[in-house]
Amino acid sequence: MLEIRWHSRAGQGAVTGAKGLAEVVASTGKDVQAFAFYGSAKRGAAMTAYNRFDDKVILNHEKFMQPDYVLVIDPALVYATDITANEKENTVYIITTHLSTLELIASQPKLMGKKVFTVDCIKISQETIGKAIPNTPMLGALMKISRMYDIEFFTENMFKVLKKLPQKIIDANMIAIERAYNEVK
């Protein structure tokens, strides 16, 4: 079982990202879950979304999770919410920020000694897609760090997931995914 927790603000696309990732993983024959805690569900409110992936049928519907990966797609949530909640010893953090990994850890000492990677998904999405929708680039970064799938395989399948969007938007998302894949450190 692989478990992922997303930290996002409502409207940044964490649910769409979690569902898109689930579609790609499901296409490889694994069982999947993608869900979220909505709370008051106001645009801009801090929220969390979740993925579970397994070779076996997933029976577990508890919301409690000790994530293998924590994906943070809004920079301020590192300080405003408890992104290390219910972590495991080897939980991996991939965090959107304009800071370097060292600067980020210095600014949030809770991350000291943990497996932390950084990438600026906000900037990447602004420069490629044209607005701050940092969900798809985060998936590119996750592919690099987790080695879940080859980037070619992943973008090919993400292309199918996004196929109902206008061609221009799909192309921009593909570039965003590859940029984050290359830029995550």
Partner: protein
């Protein structure tokens, strides 16, 4: 003519999307709706299918849930295939008309995305609305995941529209935990799904002007009792065999097997949890963990809540030493409804298990695997002692001091 919607063999859908596609494939004549969280996307998706040419029927935006179900009743009496969706307070507002639908023997399919009923206001999943409907004369089928929602919608149409039944059916799923959780759903093509349900054949329809009928008449003490008895008789005698037949048909078509009572590792089980919704599967996972330790644990999931499969449940629990019933609705003044049902099912049988009750998960409070482990530990102690080692009713997952009664 509506366009064919090309589906992949396996889609990643949440429970709401699964319900929307099942309604689309059923070629419903009239959907009248007043959306409410968390069931909103069912009719929202449906409206978008309609706008994109995938639906031939009518979509009526009503002024309230009372109005929505009233439209459904009118359309069903007129002779159409009819469906809608609701949750929580919206369900509560429909309640009066639910009795009209069942009393008039109108085969309407209602997707109920289970949600808490306020006050305090809460949009999350519990079974308060499902429990509120249990005396309303509707068939109630319960789902544990999005695949169930898709399949049970197809089953619901096929069962409730049968001329030997003609009773409305609710298809229940857990708010957010199923309705907003995307999982794999194996689909049927539009043709195959429609053929499984079958063509809608009206009976006593008001628009059959050659055979005029009256619907919704008044009957006082002369006939009211006989009408209600006939309705109960149909629920008690015709529905379970018809659901079983639909389950058999679905299995032949898809390989997926559903049962009136979903027994999980119950053959030699000494301790068992009885529950509904997503909790059934989480309990199954915990029972697997206990089995790996050599503990004879099992789970009984309620698939059909009304009509209640009393004999089948008693049979599934035969030989158990300790049983916990889990209720996700505040009983407000007594034991949980499922406790009552189970006590009734087991009382005159040779099963003399210790029976206890847990209230859990109100307003979407998480049912953790750790809580389920605690329940099974209580059950082991009860089985060993041969009598309750805990209070009869306990609240689990509640913050603050432990709360228990009886």
């Amino acid at each position: 003519m509506a366009d064919i919607f090309e589906l992949r063999d396996i889609e990643v859908w949440d429970g709401n999307m699964a319900a929307s596609h099942a309604l689309r494939q059923a070629q419903v004549d009239v959907v009248a709706a007043y959306p409410i969280t968390p069931s909103t996307p069912i009719v929202e998706n449906y409206a978008s299918f309609m706008a994109n040419g995938y639906i031939d029927g009518e979509f009526v935006m009503a002024e309230s849930e009372h109005g929505a179900m009233s439209c459904c009743i009118g359309a069903s009496a007129a002779g159409g295939r009819v469906a809608t969706a609701t949750s929580s307070q919206g369900f509560a507002l429909m309640l009066e008309t639910l009795y009209s639908a069942s009393g008039m023997r109108l085969p309407i399919v209602l997707n109920v995305v289970n949600r808490a009923i306020g006050a305090p206001l809460n949009v999350n999943g519990d079974h308060s609305d499902m429990y509120m409907g249990r005396d309303s004369g509707w068939i109630q089928i319960d789902c544990y995941n999005p695949q169930d929602v898709y399949d049970m919608n197809l089953v619901a149409f096929r069962v409730c529209e049968d001329h030997g039944i003609r009773l409305p059916a609710m298809v229940h799923q857990d708010g957010f935990m199923t309705s907003h959780t995307a999982q794999r759903v194996k689909t049927l093509s539009d043709d195959v799904a429609y053929d499984f349900i079958g063509e809608f054949k009206p009976m006593n329809d008001m628009l059959d002007l050659d055979h005029p009928v009256t619907h919704g008449v008044q009957t006082e003490e002369d006939w009211h009792f006989e009408h209600k008895a006939r309705q109960h008789h149909a629920l008690m005698s015709a529905v379970l065999p018809k659901i079983q037949e639909a389950f058999d048909g679905l299995k032949a078509l898809t390989g997926r097997q559903y049962n009136l009572v979903e027994s999980y590792t119950m053959d030699d089980a000494e301790i068992a949890i009885v529950c509904m919704g997503t909790s059934v599967e989480t309990a199954q996972e915990v029972s697997n963990e206990l089995r790996a330790q050599g503990i004879k644990a099992g789970v009984v999931g309620i698939r059909v809540f009304r009509p209640f499969p009393l004999e089948q449940i008693a049979d599934a629990l035969k030989g158990c030493k300790a049983i916990a019933t889990l209720d996700r609705s505040s009983p407000n003044g007594t034991v949980g409804a499922l406790y009552n049902e189970l006590a009734g099912a087991l009382f005159n049988t040779s099963t003399h298990a210790v029976l206890t009750n847990y209230i859990y998960g109100l307003g979407g409070r998480d049912l953790t695997k750790s809580s389920i482990h605690t329940i099974y530990r209580d059950l082991q102690a009860n089985a060993q002692a041969g009598s309750p080692t805990t209070p009869l009713q306990q609240f689990i997952g509640l913050r603050g001091p432990k709360l228990s009664f009886f």
